[in-house]
Symmetry: C2
Subunit: 226 residues, 2 copies
DNA sequence: GGAATGATGCGGCCAGCGCCGAAGCGTTAC
DNA sequence: GTAACGCTTCGGCGCTGGCCGCATCATTCC
């Protein structure tokens, strides 16, 4: 009883377009200020402030003050996964024409890991090389995969068995690599300067070093025909 | 742009208490009539009809006419997973006192698999016996586990590698067994008559045969102290 | 055919909520 | 100190949307 109302109240928070825009803007895991989020949601700062208060109250966001700025970010990975699962539903629906930018299709972040053609290409390479097994239900990194990741500088952690969470890509409709392994891989690619975030979009830019690096290490052309 | 509005519209569908009640009532995968759902949502049939129309229009439900009845069920497993992930968020939040029935804590269905103490106990047995490895990120059935399941009559499918999706239990806070394997296991337990659905609740009843069977096969007491 | 039942359509009521303008508070910059 | 900036609170407007009573249609039972 009470928890169903709680479910509904959480969902109602996501149900307003302005708040949905705010959450999606934060979906890549960054922390943004109230003003930036107001811009992202296409509302005035006052209105955004109200929404942010509700989202914070609802436990979906965390906030930290820094001088006269307030930085907001998603409260946890489970919030990101919730957004992900809703996007999965919006996508399994009538094949509505996708009018988003081509940049988002190529490469984007999905909270803490990589998605789009880049994410799928990475996962494909690892699978083809026998480093990874992935299905819709789960996945696992092999011994050779663990060595490969370690050599690449993306050690996923100390646990003996390294499972991964697959994440169905809404643009490519193929699973890509999420979970600890996906996060470590994405983090390393940022560190190497292979990919860079862009302003005002979740789309990622593959740098010149990145194109060379992905070709050399992972054997695919990260320009995706551009 | 357009897909964010779509996300918001889906979330708005879940954001109304009456619709949330309808979806949760359908969460165990059964098909229910419009009247039953009106009762579950605590609204009149007219109101429920409106809600069902919206949910159907939004692609969250499927409907089939049978005589003068209309049976509704969740449109897909991805809808169930969406609900699951929202429940996960509602639960990772302030440790609000749980006022639900004790029956639900013991055994319930989670769309197509088993949850509650029963679900966790099953997963624990399989893990202790070396039949299953499960973490928060993923899981896998071992060769011995595959043989065990086959012998039990719950063959999960022909694929060489059998991964499982873990599902964080909101009452036990431990992962239990979802995905194809979880569904096959639950299905077999129903077939054997070990568990039975109850009216007007997602809670399951463990039958006398079930208590004997779970004790013999899985080595735990399925009465859970009752 | 007639009555009962399940489901839907319509009209009207009303609460709730999103929105912005104006004003207030706190911090930073000069 | 003064000004600029970021953010929040308050108040009022306007509209969406949930709810039910009543009526209608379709199906089944007798």
């Amino acid at each position: 009883m009470s928890d169903i109302n709680h479910l509904a109240s959480i969902a109602a928070l996501l149900g307003d377009p302005a708040r949905a825009n705010i959450l999606v803007a934060l979906f890549d895991g960054r922390a943004l200020t109230a003003k930036e989020l107001a811009y992202a949601a296409h509302v005035t700062p006052q209105t955004a402030s109200g929404h942010l208060g509700k989202l914070f109250e609802g436990g979906l966001l965390t906030m930290e003050k820094q001088g006269r700025h307030r930085y907001f970010r998603l409260a946890s990975a489970s919030v990101a996964q919730m957004l992900e699962s809703i996007m999965a539903v919006t996508d399994t629906q009538p094949p509505r024409p996708w009018r988003g930018g081509e940049g988002l299709r190529n490469a984007r972040t999905c909270y803490d890991h990589l998605a789009g053609r880049l994410g799928v290409a990475l996962a494909s390479f690892l699978m083809d090389a026998g480093h990874l097994v992935l299905s819709s239900d789960g996945g696992e990194v092999s011994a050779s995969g663990l060595a490969f990741l370690r050599d690449f500088g993306a050690e996923p952690g100390p646990s003996k068995r390294v499972f991964c969470r697959p994440c169905l890509d809404w643009s490519e409709r193929r699973p890509h690599l999420a979970g600890r392994v996906g996060a470590a891989l994405a983090c390393r690619c940022f560190d190497l300067g292979w990919i860079r975030r862009q302003r005002d979009t979740r789309a990622l830019a593959v740098t010149a070093e990145g194109r060379v690096g992905f070709q050399a290490r992972f054997g695919f052309d990260a320009s995706f025909g551009q």
